[in-house]
Every structure is written in structure tokens, then in C-alpha cells.
């Protein structure tokens, strides 16, 4: 018996378990579907009431902003970009983890993605929705926000400036939102069909029947579906890189010290993945506990996500270090000033060092297996990382802007209550959307988990053989 447990441990170490309790296909359907099928719990209404009222508060703030004007924000000269752009970049960044899990890990054949990709993709969509609010209200006249899109506007008879990174952003973010939504929907269709087939009430049956478009799961369906999924993953991978790359261009194409640096594109992408994974961990820890899917979203998933957080945290640290080094190496007094004075020791030192502590130092704890498999600990770290990543955007924006080239135009940014409550309100929107998502849709990709189980069962014998060989034995039934 002891030998068996030891062998199992070695096998788990070679290929960590992605589901506990050896569930069969029906168990998976049952575990995921039941979440949406049970009678709505009282707590759900309470959660909705809380998140809904926070969203409502955001609505009030935005209404106040539109009626009064952007002067209600703390933006000033020289800090013309304040919390609006900070929060925009913050939310867009959060979204990146969803695409990373659904697309990039798919291309890398990382099977552990299957239990969490649906959830992470939903997060992408909701985060993009939160982000998209900011450019809309930042333009000052939101009723003219459609001027951002390539339509010749009716009053000025002019076209957008396609040479501006801000317009690239419009294309990147709206393409990203659209493609993520399509990717998410394509993945949902087979699971919506599952919900349709299990539905007890007429209303539920009809709505899922329409939403699943009559999916039958025929071999032809799956053939085209898998091809489409592969192509979408192949498209989304460069797309997700391009989005934060283009967001970084908003800064890096300028000549402002601290913004104009060539490492910005990959550094922003890594930072986005970093914060996004942290957000997935935060939400997943709660969701797997509430919805009792710990056997499908296992410690392996959480640990792998923490490893990604550690890796991307190190990349972000690498970028900070490179920027600092080059600022010194270049001998350029303006670059040196931004990094050594404005950021590290200037009036925003507290923001800068919060950023470094949260982003570079805190993930280092994940080098230890004990800590990266400790649920309360990872929960706390994931939140700290997100605070740090918010600070990163704030530091980049505020420290570079607050010292203009003339000392007469130096300034300091202070958020107003509108800034603060709008930002809190976006969390309300984000969570409200999640509350709806977890109530009505399959939060785990049922079909994909089954596919993964079938493939894994097929590979079990490799592990047996390897463990047996390491002990100098021939495995049982080694006739393969």
C-alpha cells in the first residue's frame, strides 16, 4: 500500500492531476450543470444587490461627469492623463489572461487550461467592458464617441488620424473585444447544447436551444469546430500581444522621458498577463469554493497559475531593471531624472516603491511550493499583485507627466471623489457581470474537460512505465 501511494506521488509529480476522484463523463456534466440548474439561492440575490448598487454608483458618477464635464476629475496640467487612462490600461491588462489561457496555452497543448479557460475568457470580456468605458468618457463628449470609429463624421467632413496610436488603440481594443466574444461564444455552443438537453422548463429549453443554434455534436460539427478553434487560437495569440503592445505605443511613441523606451511592448504584455493571472486566481479561489468544483479546478491549476504569475512577475522585474540600467547607461539627463528622481525619490516615491514591492517582490514567495499551493496565501498575493499592477500604470502615467520640461509647469495629481468612485464602480460592473455569468452559463468548459479526460486516460500507461522503470522494474502489462 505504501508503495502504491509512493508511486502515485511520483506519477503526480511527473504529471500533476487535473481532476480528483476519478469522475466519469456524466459526473463532469452534472457538476457543472447543477450550478446553473439549482433554484436561485438567496445569497445570489444579495451578491447581485451589492455589486449592482456599486455599478449604479458608477452610473451616477458617469452621469455627473457627463453633465458637468471632465473637470470633475483630478486631471490637471501637466498631468492630463490621470486615473482614466490608468484604469483603462489596468482593466485591459486584466483581460489578457483569459486569452492567454484560452489561446496560447491551447497552442502549447497545456491540458490544464481546460478547467479554467471558460472562466478566464469570461473575465476577459468583462474586463474589456470595464476598460472600454474609460476612452468613451475621457473624450469629454461621449455622445460623439463614435467619431473614434472610421466613419466620416457628418459635421466636419474629416477622417480620423490613422497615424495616431490612440486610433490604433480603438482598432486594437474593439477587435480584441469582438474576437474574444466570438471565441468565447464558439467555445460555449457545445455546452449550451448540454444545458438545452438537460433543461427541465420550457423557457430554459427554448432559450438554450436558440443560443446553441441546434448544435448536435456530429463528427462533421466537431471537425469544423476544432479547426475553427485552432484558427481562433492562432489568431488570438498575436492579437492579445498586439493589444497591449498598441496600448504601450500610446506612451512609447511619444518623446516623453519614461514613456519613450523600446522595451515597452513586451513589457506591457508581460505585465498584462501577470495581472490577469492574478485576477483569475483571486476569482477562481472564491468560485471553486462557492460552486464546489474543487475536484475539477484542482490545486494543479492554481499552482500552475501561480507559476505563471512568478514567471511574468520576473519578466516585469527584468523590464524595470533594464529601464533603470539603460536610463543610467544612456547618460541622458532627462531619462536619468525620470527614473532616479521622479520615480524612485520624487513626490511619487510611495507609488513607485509600492509598485516594486507588489510586483517584483511579492511574487517571489511563489518560488516555494508550500506557499504557491497555500490557498489563503495565494489569494492575498494575487490581490497584492493586482494592486501593484494598478500602481505600475499610475506610476508610468503620473511620474512622467508631473514634471514637465519647465519647472513652472510642474504639478501633482490628486484624485477627486469622482475618480475614486468611478474606479470602484468598475469593479461593481465587473462583478455584476460575473454574478450573472455564474448563474446562467456553464462556468467550466464541459466538453473540453471530457476531451482532456479521454486523452489523459490514454496516457496513463506512460506514467506507470516511467515510475516502474525508475525502480528498475518492468511495468505490469509492459507489452505495449
Amino acid at each position: 500500500m505504501a508503495q502504491l501511494t509512493h508511486d502515485q506521488e511520483l506519477k503526480d509529480k511527473l504529471s500533476a492531476p487535473l481532476a480528483y476522484g476519478n469522475p466519469n463523463f456524466h459526473d463532469v456534466t452534472e457538476a457543472v450543470s447543477i450550478i446553473s440548474e439549482v433554484k436561485t439561492h438567496r445569497n445570489w440575490y444579495i451578491a447581485l444587490a451589492i455589486t449592482g448598487s456599486i455599478t449604479g454608483m458608477m452610473g451616477l458618477m458617469i452621469a455627473y461627469l457627463i453633465v458637468t464635464g471632465v473637470g470633475v476629475w483630478g486631471n490637471n496640467a501637466p498631468v492630463g492623463w490621470g486615473w482614466d487612462i490608468t484604469n483603462f490600461v489596468f482593466w485591459i491588462g486584466i483581460g489578457h489572461a483569459g486569452t492567454l489561457i484560452s489561446a496560447i496555452l491551447f497552442l502549447f497543448r497545456q491540458k490544464w487550461r481546460t478547467s479554467i479557460n471558460r472562466f478566464a475568457e469570461a473575465m476577459t470580456l468583462f474586463a474589456v467592458a470595464c476598460a472600454a468605458i474609460y476612452p468613451g468618457i475621457h473624450v469629454g463628449r461621449p455622445w460623439r464617441a463614435y467619431w473614434l470609429f472610421p466613419i466620416p463624421n457628418e459635421f466636419l467632413d474629416m477622417w480620423q488620424n490613422f497615424r495616431s496610436p490612440l486610433l490604433w488603440d480603438v482598432f486594437a481594443v474593439s477587435t480584441y473585444g469582438t474576437v474574444s466574444a466570438l471565441f468565447w461564444y464558439v467555445g460555449l455552443v457545445p455546452d449550451l447544447a448540454t444545458f438545452r438537453d438537460r433543461a427541465k422548463t420550457k423557457a430554459r429549453k427554448l432559450s438554450f436551444a436558440i443560443a446553441s443554434l441546434g448544435w448536435r455534436g456530429s463528427a462533421t460539427h466537431w471537425k469544423n469546430y476544432e479547426k475553427a478553434y485552432m484558427i481562433l487560437a492562432g489568431l488570438s495569440t498575436p492579437l492579445v500581444l498586439s493589444v497591449h503592445t498598441i496600448v504601450s505605443f500610446d506612451f512609447a511613441t511619444s518623446i516623453l522621458p519614461g514613456w519613450h523606451t523600446t522595451i515597452f511592448p513586451p513589457y506591457f504584455v508581460a505585465g498584462a498577463i501577470f495581472s490577469g493571472f492574478a485576477m483569475v486566481v483571486t476569482l477562481m479561489v472564491i468560485a471553486r469554493w462557492i460552486y464546489k468544483v474543487e475536484h475539477l479546478v484542482t490545486m494543479t491549476h492554481l499552482e500552475n497559475m501561480n507559476k505563471v504569475i512568478l514567471a511574468t512577475g520576473c519578466i516585469v522585474g527584468y523590464a524595470y531593471a533594464t529601464e533603470f540600467f539603460i536610463a543610467w547607461y544612456s547618460g541622458n539627463p532627462y531619462e536619468s531624472y525620470v527614473f532616479f528622481v521622479s520615480r524612485a525619490t520624487g513626490p511619487y516615491w510611495w507609488a513607485y516603491w509600492s509598485m516594486v514591492t507588489c510586483n517584483v517582490i511579492s511574487p517571489q514567495f511563489f518560488w516555494f511550493k508550500k506557499l504557491r499551493t497555500n490557498i489563503p496565501f495565494m489569494f492575498v498575493i494575487s490581490i497584492i499583485v493586482n494592486i501593484g499592477m494598478w500602481f505600475e500604470r499610475f506610476v508610468i502615467i503620473a511620474t512622467s507627466l508631473h514634471r514637465d520640461f519647465l519647472p513652472s509647469s510642474w504639478g501633482y495629481f490628486r484624485p477627486t471623489f469622482v475618480d475614486i468612485f468611478t474606479f470602484i464602480g468598475t469593479f461593481g460592473l465587473f462583478l455584476t457581470l460575473f454574478v450573472f455569468f455564474t448563474r446562467f452559463l456553464p462556468i467550466i468548459a464541459i466538453g473540453e474537460v471530457k476531451g482532456m479526460m479521454a486523452a489523459n486516460a490514454h496516457e496513463e500507461h506512460y506514467l506507470d512505465e516511467a515510475v516502474a522503470a525508475s525502480q528498475g522494474k518492468e511495468p505490469v502489462g509492459a507489452a505495449h
Partner: protein, 405 residues
């Protein structure tokens, strides 16, 4: 599960036949003698030209070796199975790093022919107050040597550790070294990324001591990884032509190697384009000088070759699934990529010396042959000392039967 895949019986031997080994040694030995002979003649003719050509050849070999190390560590970290049959050769290329430490000596000797900042009179002319501190503390011969020694010590140690762990499994089939290599790889990635970037700042970026780009390290590593995958694939295609490991490394593996070459084609283009675009867009003279130099005279043509050859052509060549599974196409692609990677390194280094335009020299070929044959001979020696694949790796069997979906 009875979804049995019907494989041909794997009769591969994982040891290199003596006849083939002898032939390889003869070819590499001849290259070695000819290359070093010619290179020394080149040195006699023109010191400066020799060192410049040598730096190109050295950096080409170095970037491939560090690319091999990074990817070996990534395979350990992700516990990937598909790459196990080809991993020993990866490790073997990685083990070029200690040899490259020796091959660095001519670069160190040629300091004054290569780096302006090594001349006190150049430093004395510096007008930027802050830059003077950089020369005192960083860009000077002493610190340059210290750093180089530190890099090679770290790299050689890490490479040896990963390699010997892997080799120890060949007979014992123990699982411990697999777990150990996973542990070594995580900090290794961080360390190699940092030191690799710093080394590319030292050896190439500082050729123009006033130019800087934070992306430069990533650029060099991306190109190196690209060249590495081409070399790895090329080696296996040569093996295949000689009947080595034909059943172990199948179309499925070549398909994946092709995907990596394709992915890195795109990644390099992404990095190169971002660096170029940001500098082009901001249009600041101290930065644009880099591209201005490379758009002067015939260098502009070479920039065009890189744009079309390094990216567009390779992208289109490897885009289709079939081209990655057609070994003749792949063979052409590997040679093409290696040529383009060499062009890239040449393009990074040479415009600093030949400002008017491209000035090819026969010494370029001689030094390339000298460096590559030295690294190659060491590779070839190690080839006989261990099996050609990590046959004791727990994921080896799974890797053999790997199939693309």
C-alpha cells in the same frame, strides 16, 4: 482505450555509428584547420578586419547556444514530452557555452579594434557629464573582462548541471534528475535572460557607445533562439539522411520544430518592428542614428533583405501546415534561417565599422568557419559520449509517440 496508434516498430539505435562519426570528424576537422589557418592569415593582413569578422562569427555562435539553453530550460519547466527525443541535441548545443568561453579570448584581445570606448582618448572627449560615470564604472576594459568571465562561469556551470543531470538518467532511468532539472531551470531562465541581455549590451550594443535601446537584449535573444531551432532541425535532417533516429524523430516532431521556427519568425519580427517603429516614430537623433547607419549606402539593401528574408519570406514559407511537414521544404527553411540569422548579426555589428556600405571580406567566412568548426568539433566529441537522445527520461516514450492534433 483501444485507440491504438499504429507505429512502425522502432528499431533506432541511439548511438552514432563509428563510420558516420569519423566522417563528421573529418569534415569538421578540415573546416577547423582551414578556417583557423585562413583566419590567422586574415589577422596577419588586417587586424581590425579580423576582429570585426570574428565578433560576427562569435556572436552568431553564442546567440544560438544561449537560445538552446533557454529552450532546454523551457522544456524542463513545462514538462513537455514532444521535445524529449530531440532534447539531447538541444543540450549538446547548449554545451557549446564553455567552449565559447575559450572562443571569447580573441574578442577580448581585439578590444581596441572593436570598441571605441576602450580608448582613453575617446572617453576623454565625452561631453555628457553623466556618460562619463558610465565609462568609469561600466564601459571600460577591466569591467568588461570581469563581466565576461562572470557570464561564462555562470553559463558553463548551469549548462553542465542541466546536461549532466540529463545524462545521468540514461542508465538509471531515475526520476530525480527530471525533478532536479525542473528546479534548476526556473532560476536559470531568469539568470540567462538577465546575463544574456547584458552580454548583448556589452558585446554588440556598445559598439556604438552612445546608442541605446531597452529592447536590444530581447532582440538578440529572439534571433538566437530562432537560429537555434533552425540548427537543431538541420542536425536532425542530416541525421535522417544518414539513417540515424529515423523512427524516433518523425514528421510529427518536425512539424513542431517547424512551428517553433515559425513562431520565432513572428516573435523576432514583432520585437524588431516594435524597436524600429518606436524609434522611427519618435524621431530623436540620438536613437535614429542606429537605423540611419543601416540605411546608408548598400546597408539599406541589407536592411531590405532582413525585412523580406528574415520575416516576410520565412513567414510565408512556414505558414502552411504542409510546408512544416514536408522535409525538403523544412531543410531549405533551416538553411535559409541560419543564413538570415547570420545576416542579422552581421547587420548589427558591421555598419559600425564600414559606414559607407557593405564591405564583405573573405575573413568573414574564415572566422565563421573557424568558430563554427570549433564549436562543432566539441559538439561532435560529446555526441559519442552519450546516447543521441535522453533515453532514460520518463517522458521519452511518450515523446516518441507524440502526434500533432
Amino acid at each position: 482505450m483501444s485507440q491504438s496508434h499504429h507505429h512502425p516498430v522502432n528499431t533506432d539505435s541511439y548511438y552514432i555509428p563509428d563510420a558516420i562519426w569519423d566522417r563528421g570528424r573529418n569534415v569538421l576537422g578540415a573546416m577547423f584547420l582551414l578556417g583557423w589557418g585562413a583566419a590567422l592569415a586574415g589577422y596577419g593582413q588586417n587586424h581590425d578586419q579580423f576582429f570585426q569578422s570574428y565578433l560576427v562569427a562569435f556572436f552568431f555562435a553564442f546567440s544560438i547556444a544561449i537560445g538552446a539553453t533557454l529552450f532546454t530550460m523551457i522544456q524542463h519547466l513545462t514538462g513537455s514530452a514532444w521535445s524529449v527525443p530531440v532534447r539531447r541535441i538541444m543540450e549538446n548545443i547548449m554545451m557549446s557555452l564553455p567552449v565559447l568561453g575559450l572562443l571569447f579570448i580573441p574578442v577580448a584581445l581585439g578590444l581596441h579594434s572593436l570598441y571605441e570606448w576602450s580608448h582613453p582618448e575617446f572617453v576623454a572627449k565625452e561631453v555628457m557629464e553623466l556618460k562619463k560615470g558610465v565609462y568609469t564604472n561600466f564601459l571600460n576594459p577591466k569591467m568588461f573582462y570581469i563581466r565576461a568571465v562572470a557570464y561564462f562561469l555562470i553559463w558553463s556551470f548551469w549548462a553542465w548541471k542541466l546536461y549532466s543531470n540529463s545524462k545521468s538518467q540514461d542508465t538509471t532511468k531515475a526520476l530525480g534528475p527530471t525533478f532536479a532539472n525542473e528546479k534548476w531551470s526556473a532560476p536559470g531562465m531568469l539568470l540567462f535572460f538577465l546575463s544574456g541581455s547584458l552580454a548583448s549590451f556589452d558585446w554588440v550594443m556598445s559598439l556604438n557607445p552612445h546608442w541605446y535601446s531597452t529592447m536590444f537584449g530581447v532582440y538578440c535573444l529572439a534571433g538566437g533562439a530562432w537560429g537555434f531551432f533552425a540548427l537543431l532541425t538541420f542536425i536532425f535532417l542530416r541525421f535522417r539522411a544518414n539513417g540515424i533516429m529515423v523512427n524516433s524523430v518523425t514528421t510529427e516532431h518536425y512539424h513542431d520544430l517547424g512551428k517553433w521556427m515559425f513562431a520565432l519568425t513572428v516573435f523576432w519580427a514583432y520585437i524588431a518592428f516594435s524597436q524600429y517603429m518606436l524609434i522611427w516614430y519618435a524621431n530623436m537623433p540620438e536613437e535614429t542614428i542606429f537605423f540611419k547607419m543601416r540605411r546608408t549606402g548598400s546597408w539599406e539593401a541589407m536592411s531590405g533583405v532582413l525585412l523580406f528574408g528574415h520575416f516576410i519570406f520565412t513567414f510565408l514559407l512556414l505558414l502552411a501546415r504542409n510546408s512544416k511537414r514536408t522535409l525538403n521544404v523544412l531543410r531549405f527553411a533551416t538553411l535559409w534561417i541560419l543564413a538570415m540569422h547570420y545576416t542579422d548579426v552581421y547587420w548589427l555589428v558591421m555598419p559600425n565599422f564600414h559606414k559607407a556600405g557593405i564591405a564583405f571580406s573573405w575573413v568573414d567566412l574564415a572566422t565563421l568557419s573557424a568558430v563554427m568548426s570549433t564549436v562543432g568539433l566539441a559538439f561532435w566529441m560529446r555526441l559519442r559520449k552519450a546516447p543521441l537522445a535522453p533515453i532514460g527520461d520518463p517522458r521519452f516514450k511518450k515523446g516518441l509517440e507524440f502526434q500533432n492534433v
